[in-house]
């Protein structure tokens, strides 16, 4: 282990074994490579997807984005109706889920009795942990029949004057997919929002209440504004999840190409279309078109995620700064104790 001891003058240099001295740069190099690998995964993924979609891009160009066709027999592919299906299901889901999730977070941090808070918070997080294939299974075998036999007839008879609530009722379709996505997204947004609310200092709440504000006035005037960027980011992340969900949607949306207004009708999304063709890509062009779809999906999710991160970062910086300040305080305390 130990190398031979040199003379007195080099006592500071030579007492550590070579292994020990190599350890620090080695650790730095190894961890750097690992970090570089993890960070460049993003670039790798983007590069490989663009490479893989080259064939389809050559053939269809950006016209791919504006074409509704997905014809495996004549090898004609386009993404428009999938983009439409993705947009409508994800937007509807987040529009329903966001206020619900914020309300749940409010209840969990502001209203629920203390012992209930932890329990309910854990339940909401459990809902977020349920695998999407199980939600899909539940969606197709339990929610689907309910949508077809109860919900859609009810919506048709009360709101049927709108074009959205007309058409053949079906266990699968945009409505079912939207509801499954909502159930997926609510716990994600709710648990992030809950943590945000918990970081708002209690003194701010007290400040508002001591002025004679009611609880709701305190929430609207102080709590929500203080947490607003974080809530927006949480909603964006939830939207990203809804856009990218493949399995649960694939199982309940009906996998049909075409653009229509009826929420009862079948449709398909980018992610679900890719997933659904896992065993059917017969030509290189079709495979390449699937990769093209994945590239579109990647671009959307990158945009949504980067946006969300930019919203979160300013908040994220504050605790870190506090942490540094705290460390410094501890250090000076330690020094004065000596």
């Amino acid at each position: 282990m130990e190398t031979s001891h040199g003379d007195e003058s080099s006592a500071f240099e030579r007492t550590r074994s070579r292994l020990d001295r190599l350890g620090d740069p080695a650790l730095k190099a190894i961890t750097f490579v690992a970090a570089a690998l993890a960070v460049t995964a993003l670039v790798q993924i983007t590069y490989e997807l663009i490479k893989g979609s080259r064939l389809a891009f050559h053939r269809f160009g950006f016209g791919f984005l504006t074409s509704q066709t997905w014809d495996t027999i004549h090898n004609q592919f386009g993404a428009l109706s999938l983009i439409f299906g993705t947009a409508i299901t994800a937007i509807l889901a987040i529009v329903i889920a966001a206020p619900l999730a914020v309300a749940i977070a409010l209840f969990l941090t502001e209203l629920a009795p203390k012992p209930v808070r932890a329990l309910l918070g854990a339940l909401v997080e459990m809902l977020a942990a349920i695998p999407s294939v199980i939600l899909g299974l539940w969606g197709i075998l339990i929610l689907g029949p309910f949508v077809q036999n109860q919900l859609e007839p009810f919506l048709g008879s009360t709101l049927g004057f709108l074009p959205f609530f007309r058409g053949q009722t079906s266990p699968t379709g945009i409505l079912t997919a939207t509801l499954v996505l909502t159930i997926m997204v609510v716990p994600i947004v709710a648990s992030v929002t809950r943590e945000l609310f918990m970081t708002v200092p209690p003194e701010l709440r007290e400040g508002a209440l001591a002025l004679g504000a009611t609880r709701w006035e305190m929430v609207r005037g102080v709590l929500l504004p203080a947490a607003r960027p974080g809530i927006l980011a949480a909603v964006a992340l939830g939207f990203g999840r809804a856009v990218g969900e493949a399995m649960a949607v694939l199982m309940v949306i009906g996998s049909q190409i075409g653009i229509h207004l009826s929420l009862f009708g079948h449709s398909d999304t980018l992610a679900a279309r890719i997933a659904g063709q896992y065993n059917g890509a017969s030509t290189n062009l079709q495979t390449s078109s699937l990769v093209y779809l994945a590239t579109i999906l990647l671009v959307i999710s990158l945009a949504v995620n980067i946006g969300a991160q930019l919203l979160i970062r300013p908040i994220d910086r504050r605790p870190r700064r506090q942490r540094i300040a705290l460390d410094r305080a501890l250090e000076t305390q330690g020094m004065s104790a000596d």
């Binding site: 009795p113 003194e203 007290e206 002025l211």
Partner: protein
């Protein structure tokens, strides 16, 4: 130096109304507060008088903060907290069945230990309470008046739209006082308002309290005896009591004119505390 200052300031109180001329705003009779099974303060009897400054002093853990929070029902925010006995505000039972805590807090404002401005502009901080209470008429004037009363106007009048978080700690605390004054309360409770501030900011707050005394009833909790001696007309000394069952609870040991508490207390515990020989 500190002692000299105390002496000078003791004479600064001005004339205290004679005992018979004082008008009680709060009347506490046998007030005890529990957190769950734990008794935090026990059997407090005290009259707090109108347009005087009443200081509450005592060692840490003696329930000073708990007591001041019962005065505007901030204790409601702790679900396990429970009050027994009777606490009247201008003759009305504060914990009576039909009393609305929100209405109570509008009339009895509070300033906290740590300055807690909202993450809004200076102007909006003061206007916040006015807006929710529907006092929207002459909003700008009301904000200015409150900021002037809190001796902050000259420092912030050119940057009312700036974030309140950019103010210094002392300015933030005066902003919080302005915020409390703006909604025209009758009483202002101050829970260790200067404990997070430097000496200069502290002295600004103390001067301000003397000004506010003309229009408001002030109750201040402080762990700083010099501060109590400097600002208060009346001083209540809370002590720690260990009951036979081993429960540690706060009790009101002595309540009198500040000068008497600090120069000639009648209770040994008070004397020990104010002379620094507590224990």
């Amino acid at each position: 130096m500190e002692a000299i200052k105390t002496k000078i300031d003791l004479t600064r109180q001005g004339r205290l109304p004679a005992e018979g001329d004082r008008e009680a705003v709060f009347e506490a009779r046998g007030v005890s507060v529990f957190y769950g099974d734990q008794r935090a303060i026990d059997n407090v009897n005290i009259d707090i008088y109108r347009r005087l400054i009443t200081a509450i002093i005592g060692p840490s853990g003696c329930g000073k903060s708990t007591f001041i929070r019962t005065l505007n029902r901030m204790t409601d925010l702790v679900p396990s907290a429970r009050l027994t006995g009777e606490l009247r505000y201008r003759g009305i039972d504060l914990y009576g069945p039909r009393v609305d805590a929100v209405e109570v807090r509008r009339r009895i404002g509070m300033v906290f230990q740590k300055p807690n401005p909202f993450p809004k502009s200076i102007y909006d901080n003061v206007a916040y309470g006015l807006r929710i209470l529907g006092m929207k008429k002459d909003l700008g004037e009301r904000v200015e008046k409150a900021l002037r009363a809190a001796a902050l106007w000259d420092e912030v009048k050119d940057r009312l739209k700036d974030s309140a978080l950019g103010l210094s700690g002392g300015q933030q605390q005066r902003l919080c006082i302005a915020r409390a004054i703006a909604v025209e309360p009758e009483v202002i409770l101050l829970d260790e308002p200067a404990s997070a501030l430097d000496p200069i900011a502290t002295s600004a707050i103390e001067d301000l309290m003397h000004e506010l005394k003309r229009d408001y009833t002030l109750v201040i909790v402080t762990h700083n005896m010099q501060q109590a001696a400097r600002v208060a007309d009346m001083t209540a000394f809370f002590g720690l009591d260990v009951s036979p069952d081993g429960n540690r609870q706060g009790v009101l040991v002595e309540y009198d004119e500040t000068e008497k508490i600090f120069t000639n207390p009648s209770d040994k515990r008070t004397e020990g505390y104010v002379t620094g020989r507590f224990g």
